[in-house]
C-alpha cells in the first residue's frame, strides 16, 4: 500500500496488538482449563496453575473415565448426534427441495412455506412442550432428544438455508432433466443433491454441533440420569460446584482428585469432538452464514 506514513505504522502496530490480545482472550481460557485438568491436587486447590500444568498428573482423567456415568453420558450423546443428524438431514432435504420450487409449478407451495416459517415466529413455550412429550411417552427416549431440542423437530432455519441453495442452481438443469423424463424424485437425487454437497456439509455441521451441544432437552425429558446426554450430565456436575452444599467441604479436601480438576478434565473431553471437527466447521459455517445472510 502506498500510504506507509508514520502514523499509519503506529496504527498498524497497535492494531496487531489489539487483534492478538483478542485472539488470546478467546483461546487462553481453554488452555488454562487444560492445564488445570492435568495438575496435581495441591496446586489446583491453591490456585497456582496458570497456562501450564503444575505437578503433572493424568489422575483426573483416569478418575473421570473410571466412573461409568461419564462414559455412558458420552455414549448417549454420540447416539443422539448420529441419529439426529441422519434423520433431520433427510427431513430437511425432503422439505427444502419441494419448497424451492416456484408456486406456479407446485400449487400449495406458499401455504406449506408459511406453515413451516410460522413455527419460527411463534411457539407454545416449554411447559406445553414438556406436557406433550410426557403424553407421547417420549420421556427417557432418545427420540425426545432428536425431535424435542431447541431447534424443533425439523430445524427451520437450516431448511431455509437449504431451500435458498437449491434455488441458486441453474433452472436449465432442472428443465433439461424434465425433458429427459426425470420425475421429481429422480431430479432431487440425481441432479440437485450431487450439486449441493457443500451446503449439505454445512447443514450436517450445523446439526452435529447443535446435537452435541444441546443439554436442556436432556435435563427436562430424561427422568433417569442414566439417560442424560453428556452436556446435561456435565451441567449437573458443574452446578454442584457452583452451588455447593454446606457440608461438602471436608470430603473434597480429602479426595485425591479435586472436584475442580475432575470437572476440568470432563470439560476437556467434552470439547474434544468439536475441536476435532473444527477445521471442517470453520470452512462450512462461513459458507453457510454468508449464503444464508447476504444473498442477492
Amino acid at each position: 500500500m502506498a500510504s506507509q506514513s508514520w502514523s499509519y505504522r503506529v496504527f498498524f502496530f497497535f492494531n496487531c496488538v489489539i487483534l492478538v490480545s483478542l485472539s488470546l482472550l478467546c483461546i487462553l481460557p481453554f488452555i488454562h482449563i487444560l492445564a488445570v485438568s492435568l495438575s496435581g491436587n495441591g496446586p489446583t486447590q491453591a490456585n497456582e496453575v496458570g497456562l501450564w500444568p503444575v505437578e503433572f498428573t493424568t489422575r483426573p482423567y483416569e478418575h473421570v473415565l473410571s466412573t461409568g456415568q461419564f462414559t455412558r453420558a458420552f455414549g448417549v450423546s454420540v447416539r443422539r448426534v448420529l441419529l439426529g443428524v441422519a434423520v433431520q438431514l433427510i427431513l430437511i432435504i425432503l422439505l427444502a427441495y419441494p419448497l424451492s420450487k416456484e408456486a406456479r409449478n407446485f400449487r400449495g407451495r406458499n401455504v406449506y412455506t408459511w406453515i413451516v416459517v410460522f413455527t419460527m415466529l411463534f411457539n407454545g413455550g416449554i411447559i406445553p412442550m414438556y406436557i406433550l412429550m410426557k403424553q407421547l411417552g417420549l420421556f427417557d427416549s432418545v427420540w425426545a432428544l432428536v425431535f424435542g431440542g431447541g431447534w424443533g423437530a425439523v430445524p427451520v432455519f437450516l431448511t431455509v438455508l437449504m431451500l435458498n441453495f437449491f434455488r441458486q442452481l441453474p433452472k436449465e438443469l432442472d428443465e433439461a432433466a424434465t425433458t429427459d423424463g426425470a420425475g421429481e424424485w429422480m431430479k432431487m437425487l440425481r441432479v440437485y443433491l450431487p450439486l449441493s454437497l457443500p451446503s449439505l456439509m454445512t447443514v450436517t455441521m450445523f446439526l452435529i454441533v447443535y446435537h452435541w451441544n444441546s443439554w436442556f432437552d436432556g435435563l427436562i425429558y430424561m427422568t433417569d440420569t442414566k439417560n442424560y446426554p453428556l452436556q446435561t450430565y456435565l451441567r449437573v456436575e458443574i452446578n454442584r460446584i457452583n452451588n455447593p452444599p454446606q457440608n461438602m467441604d471436608e470430603s473434597v479436601v480429602e479426595r485425591k482428585v479435586s472436584q475442580r480438576a475432575a470437572v476440568a478434565a470432563q470439560l476437556v473431553i467434552a470439547m474434544l469432538p468439536i475441536t476435532a471437527v473444527y477445521p471442517f466447521i470453520q470452512q462450512y459455517f462461513k459458507e453457510g452464514i454468508v449464503l444464508g445472510s447476504v444473498k442477492g
Binding site: 430437511i92 406445553p128 406433550l132 443439554w215
Partner: protein
Amino acid sequence: MRIGRFAGSRRFREMLSHPALPLHVMVLPGLALLFVFSYLPMVGIVIAFQDYLPSKGFFGSPWIGLDPYRVIFDIPDTWKVIRNTVVISVLKLFFGLITPVVTALLLNEIRIRWFKRSIQTLVFFPHFLSWVILGGIIIDVFSQNGAVNKLLGWFNLGPYFFMGDPALFRFVVVATDVWKDFGFSMIVFLAALTSIDPSLYESAMMDGANRWRQTLHITLPGIMPIVTLVAILNLGNILNAGFDQIFNLYNALVYETADIIDTYVYRIGLVNAQYGLATAMGLFKSAVGFVLIVISYYLAYRVANYRIF
C-alpha cells in the same frame, strides 16, 4: 361407495400421475413432525387459562380465564424479570454489535493473509462450544479462587465475587456473551467488507484521502446497511436474553439482576410445577416476541429489502 367411485375415476388417476404429486409426498414427513412438535404445543397453550391438573388433562381442568395474568402481574418478581430481560438484551445487543464491527474493521486493515486467517480461526472458536462447557470454564475462571482474580491480584485489585455479586454478575453475563459470539458475528461484516467496490478506494487515494478518511467515507458507509439489518433483526429477539447462558451461570445470589423471563418460567413451571402460571407467563413472552419479530422482519424488508426466503 363414493370413495370407491372416486378411486376409479379419471380425475383420481390424473392426480396420481400429476408431476407435482411427488412434491406433496416429500413435504409430508416434515409437516407431520412440525404438526406434532410445534403446532400441538401451541394448542397446549389453553392451559394458560386453566387451573391445569395433570390428572384431568387439557379437557378436564377447570377454566379460570385471565386470572393467571392478574396473579402474574401482581407478583413483583414479574416486573423484575421483565426488566432484567430487557436490560441484559439491550446491553448484549449493543456490545454484541459494536465489537464484531470494530474487530472486522481492524482485521480488514491486515493484509497478511496467514495472520488474518489465524486470528479469525482463534476468535471463531468459542462460538461452537455449548454454554454448559463455557459455563464450566467461566465459573472456574471467575471464581473467587480463579484465574481472573489471581490476575487482578497482581495489580492489587480484588478479589471480586464475580459470580455472586448482582452488579458484577451482569457484567460477566454481557462480557462472556460478547466473547463467545463476536468472532462468529464478524463473518457477515467481513463478507460485506470484501464486497465493497475497490475502485472507490482507488479514486479516494487519487484525491489524497488517507486510510482513516477512506475508512470514514467509504468503508463505514459500505457496511452500514448490513449493520443496520443485523441490528433490526436482533431487536426482534429482545425478549430472548440468553436462557442457555444465564441458566448455566446464575445462582440464587444473583436472581435480583440476572433472573430473566425464561429462567423464571422454568423455575415456576418445571421446578415448582405451577404449569398454568408458567404457561401464562410463557405465552405472554411468546405473544410479545411474535409481534416484535414480525415488526423487525417488516422493518428489515422495508429498510434493506431483506427476505428470509
